[in-house]
Amino acid sequence: MYLSTIDRPGAKGRGRGVAVVGGNVLALGTVSLVTDVSAEMVTAVLPLYLVLGLHLSPVAYGVVDGVYTGATALLRIVGGFVADRVRARKALAGFGYALSAVAKLGLLAAGRSLAGIGFVVAVDRMGKGLRTAPRDALITLSTPPSALGRAFGVHRTMDAVGAFLGPLVALAVLAGSGQSYDAVFVTSFCVAVLGVAVLVLFVREHGQPSPSVARPAVRDAAALLRSGDVRRLVLAAALLGVATIGDGFVYLMLQRRTEIGLLWFPLLAVGTSLGYLLLAAPLGVLADRIGRRPVLLAGYAALAVTYLLLVAPVGGWALLVAALGAYGLYYAATDGVLMALAGPVLPDALRATGLALVQTGQALAYVASSVLFGLAWSAWGPTAAVLAAAVVAVVAGGTTAGLLFYKGRTA
């Protein structure tokens, strides 16, 4: 695609919806919505397929799945840097989306081969790793800094709606096809291709780089970390990761505390998603009004409250609603807001690389944190471990406050 066909959003005063969020953000949100329908369709039936369809041992699947988590975190940085280097964030995001789409068909081709399925899952993860940073970079580049919170809020809401619809679509396909998993994969592939089509047709690459500006080199990317602002942001993201013990543990504690039927266990994730979905956009708007740092710190507070509720002397539905509400609030106040906070700090030319650094910092810190929490649980028991996590969340929140309000920087 030739760059002259691309215009800056608002340059021609196009679109009447621009008052809410930019057309590019809406287009990217639609791509994420459609793609998440596709992805969650497969996520919802994959355990059924592997265990009942293929009679694979779950232990084996878990091993296959875990191997790639670390690798994709690093791939994210590579994806971000390449997108910046060739100045083709749209193309790279599109490649990531297309890779995940092809992986859906790969599930059919892999058959009963465990290695094959592992490879396909890895390709799907690679696609997700590659596309995230370029996509978020496009959002920041297509939005005036003052409206970034709202833009990410709207994008993440659309993303969550897709995740919500995916399992329902999968259920409908299973019912309509006589319980055919293959039909779910084929439908998921078709939905994913539609997502790629929306991206190709409606998402605009951003930024007319002036020919005098050199393409960023690896040393420029490394130099990002020499900037105090960027270092503080990556550190803040890592602290957020450290404070997170993982959904699995939160839901496990809730299940034990409320003695809700094990049958309803999957609904805990649905409850959190619902809170996230409802709160992401309002909190994004609020972040633009009162500042992103206070909203991010409120997210830490919500996380600490969630942990304390897990061990508080309350129970039943009150605990369930309060804890899931606080947990959804934590997600809504941190996920998109952190990206909105990071955007303006990073130079345009290295936007995707910088966002990838922030996301990877958070992801790697989270992996370490969930392992440590598991060890703490074994050593001290669940109550003490969760209390410790609450303390960590408060300390991390306080440290983040110190980092972000350093020298009264505004972001």
Binding site: T5, I6, P47, L48, V51, L52, G53, H55, S57, P58, V59, A60, Y61, G62, V63, V64, D65, G66, T69, R112, L114, V173, L174, A175, G176, S177, Q179, S180, D182, A183, V186, T187, C190, V191, V193, L194, A197, V198, L201, F202, R204, E205, G246, D247, G248, F249, Y251, L252, G261, L262, L263, F265, P266, L268, S370, G374, W377, S378, G381, P382
Partner: protein, 328 residues
Amino acid sequence: MNGWSVRARVLAVLGVAMVLAGVATFYIRGAAARVAEPVAVAAKPVTLDAGPVLLTVTDRHIATVSTSDPAGPRTVSAVECVRAYAAGGTGVCLQPATPWTYKMVVLDRRLAPVRSVDIPGLPNRARVSASGRLVAWTTFVGGDSYNSGGFSTRTGILDTVSGTLVASLEEFDAPVRAADRNFWGVTFAADDNTLYATMSTGGHRYLVKGDLAARTLKTVAENVECPSLSPDGTRIAFKQAISGDPTKGWRLSVLDLSTLAVTPLAETASVDDQPAWLDSATVGYTLRQADGRPDVWSVPASGGGEPRLLVPGAESPAALGVATGTNG
């Protein structure tokens, strides 16, 4: 393509959407048309009475064959199960409740449902104590640890006489209290109180011995999965992860409980099943062909001999005539 007018792009995306919707609909309809014919129901009723009979699940339905001619004609019931087991005139059947959920149903000797319990996740193992009093089941639950992509298991036990229900073995006191503890594959001793099961934690799998009344578990040995206690209560048939690594497959083996000596059995194919004792010297198990079709095989428990194809196209074997050490 961003050079196109908005109208052209909207039309293009609608066209793409219609083609894709057509492809998906075509495939879904085709899949629905390929669904197999329902299984014919036998005229003769299936019962769980003790006798020289092997119970299996055939095409998802409980069926029986004569042990003298296991590849011969089968009696197929109308009871649909993903996994089943029976002993002492009691049956357990893990069957679909809705397209997404499953239930555990206790069956009487005429396969009439006596009690049912909703179970979380996907059916995996089922077992009944020799007397028919205790019932155990294991399911795979996604979601617990979906961040790490792993599965976890839930194992429940029902006392059909007292009605006591243990929703999850995690409620029991065990030497480890790690959050990643998982239990699966229960087998009961003749006293209807002692049980054995697999406990997994920190990437290792252990054989645990449990006391149902005291609600306690203790570790007996490592790298023992899906135990099955012999009729005389002295040995445990199980699947042993090759080199301690489940991704390399499992070797069907027998553990002597007094010496803790392990004897690998003659079956060299990887067995991912909880074996069942067909008599005091023979172990039965399910093996799957490349296309996923199950067959029931048997192999001598001594470690010698050869594996023998017992019931083609069947799974979940349970011998209804097994004599136990205590109640004859």
